[in-house]
Symmetry: C2
DNA sequence: TATTGTTATACTCTATAACTATA
DNA sequence: TATAGTTATAGAGTATAACAATA
């Protein structure tokens, strides 16, 4: 059985519940729409960091996304296997791998971002015009606040 | 973490990223504040369902929360061990357990909800007055939409 | 001695399958 | 046959510890 959070019963207006289930539902929708590209929303997040076209080590990507560097290994293994990224030792510090998007990776990034935005727009249709951007602004303000991890 | 994300490195404004990390941060804060009560935010969610004081089976609680019935077993085991809930076979259908809050469970519910609300208020302080409730309203509207699958 | 990437391992969370007792 | 609760198990997902190469 799936997690049918829209069961019959009453509204749970605890903010944590709402945030968690909204995140889960949007991730499910996005992952489903990204499958033709062979990636999921987590892969797209890593690709988005690399799309800045600045020399980036694996550790920097991991820290930007807030995940462990050991988790990054398998994630990049998959992207490299798909030909979306390359890894080269940094000439200035050979402990580091410089990770870069390939041309295919860049194309996948652009296609993936288009899909993500379309899914977000669809997800936000229950809201009135402008309320979607206000939701995003509010979340951005919360995450920019101090005492982040 | 660096702060050089001026123009070339835009913040990650993917809605899924923002929702997920906001949910994680609020859950971490809430769980930390609930520890004196011996429960976490997931326990409080189950207790909240039971606080309606309607005869409720384990399956009903699980479905309301959108979790599997097998997951509910261990959750209620812990709450029962702490003396917060009781389980009795339903006289009308002895396959079912009727789950009820004890007096201690009711006290814990009230204390827990007070803590949750205080943590939410603190979490929302970066937002202007009223924007917090608008955030909650927007999320409620999204989760009420019949758009599953 | 510290850091980056890697591997192996463990832990958490949750779901699936199978069993029981009831219906 | 079907359902509620339980148990055992498996599968993601992710973190911790140890190790090699490099600084």
């Amino acid at each position: 059985m799936s997690t049918d959070s829209s069961a019959a019963t009453p509204p749970n207006d605890a903010l944590g519940y709402l945030l968690k289930h909204a995140a889960l539902r949007l991730a499910t929708l996005t992952d489903a729409s990204l499958t033709p590209l062979g990636i999921d929303s987590k892969d797209l997040g890593a690709i988005r960091v690399l799309a800045r076209r600045e020399p980036t080590s694996q550790l920097q990507v991991a820290q930007t996304l807030g995940i462990d560097r050991t988790t990054m290994v398998a994630l990049l293994d998959a992207l490299e296997r798909q030909g979306l990224v390359t890894r080269q030792p940094d000439p200035d510090d050979r402990r580091r791998n410089l990770v870069e998007l390939t041309n295919v990776g860049t194309e996948t990034y652009e296609a993936g971002e288009a899909i993500r935005k379309a899914v977000e727009a669809e997800f936000l249709t229950p809201l009135d015009q402008g309320d979607g951007e206000q939701l995003r602004d509010a979340l951005r303000a919360l995450m920019a606040a101090p005492d982040a991890h």
